[in-house]
Symmetry: C2
Subunit: 343 residues, 2 copies
């Protein structure tokens, strides 16, 4: 059997006072004299007292907890977003619970249910593409919700993320300025529904148009999400073209890695033969071996902003949820260079 946890009652008995006195003393209520407070605190410490958060939440009718749900932690900014948010939230006495969806819609739903079961007072989530609607449950339950990190959102839900259009424009202008004209676009199949990925695509078309460069349809590709083979076969097709692209603009860093990977396998040099760009700024992008030109987002700031949005929503539940886009910075590294000279 597990050792029984020590409760207020236990302390009260030992200190010869009432349960309530202990409760107040421990929380520093002014009602208790300084002397007894110290005495009670000492005993509590000795007995290794730890408040039961379930009982507290139940009684207070408020959990003082916010939930985070991320798809996966390895390929996202979960860590920084959580830290950014925590820096704000802790000041207001909130604690954070983290759930992982593992890129799985069912799992995501379960985690959400769990969070709601724990009566979280707010949620900061990075939904997986296509599952945004899952979060209608949270909205129904009246729990303030903010989407953070990937620019995904649904109507009526606040959102903080990288400005996809701006980011797309930045990489495209960079490539055009280097002299590229045959620029391929590497998106994902389900991007149409994404309020983050779609704008990147728009930026691609607009920027090309503004530069007076015609877009060739077969240069616009959509890979299956998370499917390495799919990316490889697309890359193969692109480099086998009569007029192969001189640059490939990828919608995420992770995709860009796989594209570079395939190019090198096929003995295409990056950037001498083909330049590659990403968006998102995974940390490893800065490594000399990868050195990917990308647009980074300040994930800590995204987290802070998300928390701010949340605090506003909690205070003024009728506030219109807003969409805050943060602009990233272009980091030009060694995966981009002027296109090869025509022979």
């Amino acid at each position: 059997m597990q050792v029984m946890a020590v409760t207020l009652k236990d302390i009260a008995k030992k200190a010869q006072v009432t349960e309530q006195a202990v409760s107040m003393a421990l929380r520093g209520h002014s009602r208790i004299s300084k002397k007894t407070k110290q005495k009670i605190r000492k005993i509590a410490r000795e007995m290794n007292y730890r408040p039961n958060l379930h009982a507290r939440s139940l009684r207070r009718q408020s959990s003082k907890a916010v939930g985070f749900i991320f798809p996966d932690i390895t390929y996202s900014y979960a860590q920084e977003i959580a830290e950014g948010a925590r820096s704000q939230l802790n000041e207001h006495g909130y604690v954070g619970l983290i759930g992982l969806s593992s890129w799985n819609a069912d799992q995501e739903m379960q985690e959400l249910e769990l969070m709601l079961g724990f009566q979280v007072e707010a949620l900061i989530c990075t939904p997986i593409v296509g599952s945004e609607a899952t979060y209608a449950k949270a909205v129904d339950a009246g729990v303030p919700l903010v989407f953070a990190g990937n620019g995904l959102s649904i109507p009526g839900v606040a959102c903080v993320g990288l400005d996809g259009y701006d980011a797309g424009q930045k990489v495209m202008r960079h490539l055009l300025a280097l002299g590229h004209r045959r620029i391929a676009f590497m998106g994902t199949e389900s991007m149409a529904g994404s309020q983050f990925l779609s704008p990147i695509r728009e930026a691609y078309f607009h920027t090309m148009e503004q530069a007076g460069v015609p877009v060739q349809d077969h240069m616009v590709c959509y890979s299956q999400v998370g499917n390495q083979d799919s990316i490889e076969s697309i890359v193969d097709q692109l480099i086998d073209l009569e007029q192969r692209p001189t640059a490939i603009c990828c919608v995420t860093d992770a995709i860009a890695y796989l594209v570079m990977n395939r190019l090198i396998q096929r003995e295409v040099r990056v950037p001498q033969d083909i330049s590659v760009t990403g968006i998102g700024g995974l940390h490893s992008s800065s490594l000399e071996m990868i050195s990917l030109t990308t647009v980074t987002e300040d994930a800590f700031r995204v987290g802070s902003l998300a928390a701010q949005s949340l605090l506003e929503l909690m205070e003024e539940p009728d506030t219109e949820p807003d969409r805050r886009l943060v602009r990233g910075d272009l980091i030009a590294r060694k995966s981009t260079a002027p296109p090869p000279q025509r022979r």
Copy 2:
């Protein structure tokens, strides 16, 4: 004001039955007739009922929750460990709560307190080096605890992780077989206390000795944890040696990345001039651009084993906590090659 959550009482009123009947009906207790069960369930669904987990835990005196604490997610197998553990735990009706310590001992302590406050019935943690003792609190509280992933542990605490000695031996044998003799060792300052890192160091010395290769003291280096500058200056020293090493054996993949990074910056070719090895098997190691020779661990398996240990401990609290080491596999990639020929 937040919308009041719907409770058993609300459903009971609507369904014209008692609160208890609803409770049992929803949990499928045989006491309630099939017909009323269906009726009650329908109403509950319509009303969007969701049990209050705090109340449930309080009443049951068991939270059916296990806590996970990871330092950071980017540089660890948190995801896979969590998934592996979850695959076991879910079957037994447990849910998981995740906390992130951000490589910060204070933060780690806070997360632990939070988990204990939530009455988790078990903990799976990847402690940061040097903070293992923090978890004495959990042991005191009688909460079964397993350390997972990095081989760190303290007496009396179960542990599942990569077999450091075996891994070290594997990379060293690989390097020796390639013909290397001047092999540098790149550890970290605080590794002495680590039951994972120390064995790697031992393996380095033993394997060298067995091969009859004398270890040169200035080839054995210890960088500051997470300090890139520190690694770079050590690398600089190594390559400026009269007799520079032909290979560098790093205790983690993350360190190996930074070492390779510096080598390339200094225009030392990997692997033609110097071979580099890691241990741990970060996912990005397989990328063509990085292609690091390393020893991988099966993190999902680590998670499963950790969960198994836990389940045993929960059933038989007096079981002697054991230390389970999983052996990794050497993955020879392009960061290692025979040493350059003597001129």
